[in-house]
């Protein structure tokens, strides 16, 4: 029997990767973990470049600092704090999940075939990560906008 040639037209590429809609909160968490990861890497590279200005002397350092110590700079930093906290808290949940912790015991698949692994422990982990993110962003805003 001739094997069917795989239909490559179902490949969604970036569009499929960015669509958080179909699989519930776990998919949103998957999406946010990758999005915050890419954002944090971009910030890290920018931060390495920004701090390298220290080698140019006090004038260059102060000039660059003025650029980042603006309202826009503070807003970007608050976003970075949020990304960092979500990525860390959700990442810890994922490390445990990868080690098999908090996934529940395997069970017979019954209708409506909800995966045992996508249980309240995992959902609580995602919510805790989101709550911690909001708290950290509020604290960051109070430090950055609350005066020196």
């Amino acid at each position: 029997m001739e094997r069917e040639i795989a239909d490559r037209s179902n490949r969604e590429g970036m569009k499929g990767w960015l669509n958080p809609g179909r699989y519930g909160w776990e998919r949103v968490s998957y999406w946010l973990q990758r999005l915050t990861g890419v954002g944090l890497l971009a910030y890290f590279i920018a931060h390495i470049y920004e701090t390298s200005n220290i080698t140019g002397g006090p004038a260059l350092w102060e000039a660059f600092l003025e650029l980042t110590q603006s309202s826009l700079g503070h807003i970007i930093l608050i976003l970075v704090i949020g990304m960092c906290v979500f990525h860390s808290a959700n990442g810890i949940r994922l490390i445990f999940a990868h080690g098999g912790k908090g996934l529940g015991k395997p069970g017979r698949p019954d209708y409506p075939y909800d995966a045992v692994s996508l249980n309240y422990r995992q959902k609580s982990g995602i919510w805790i990560a989101l709550i911690l993110t909001v708290v950290a962003m509020l604290y960051g805003a109070s430090v950055l906008f609350g005066g020196e």
């Binding site: 890290f44 701090t51 430090v143 020196e148």
Partner: protein
């Protein structure tokens, strides 16, 4: 086994994920200390003044901390990027290209950051 040999990866994916998680936990710790140093010892604005930043670069424990952040976050960040790119597309050429590019970018970033640490360590404050 033969198929594995044709791939350029020297480590198994499970070993790479262990490194990914270990660097994540390490980075979490050192970045937390770095942020605390910015806000706990003196006000945030003051900690960014030129003299205070240079003083940080001249303290050996702080240099160790900065270099640890540089290495741990670079490994974790670029491996994370590699994982994302490998999820998007799979072919031997793509996978090898992504691996080479992310390792090269990681080495370049660590080298550039280390250069800053070395030069700033040699700067004096009048």
């Amino acid at each position: 086994m033969e198929a594995n040999k044709t791939h350029m990866a020297m480590l198994r994916e499970s070993q790479i994920m262990k490194i990914h998680y270990i660097t994540a936990i390490g980075a979490l710790f050192v970045v937390a200390v770095h942020i605390l140093m910015r806000i706990a010892i003196m006000p945030y604005g003051m900690s960014l003044e030129y003299e205070n930043v240079i003083a940080n670069y001249q303290s050996i424990p702080y240099i160790v901390l900065l270099e640890s952040i540089l290495v741990l976050v670079s490994i974790h960040g670029f491996n994370g990027m590699r994982v994302i790119l490998l999820e998007l597309r799979q072919s031997k050429r793509w996978e090898d290209g992504v691996t080479v590019l992310t390792i090269a970018a990681m080495i370049a970033l660590i080298a550039y950051g280390t250069r800053t640490i070395i030069i700033a360590n040699g700067l004096g404050v009048e």
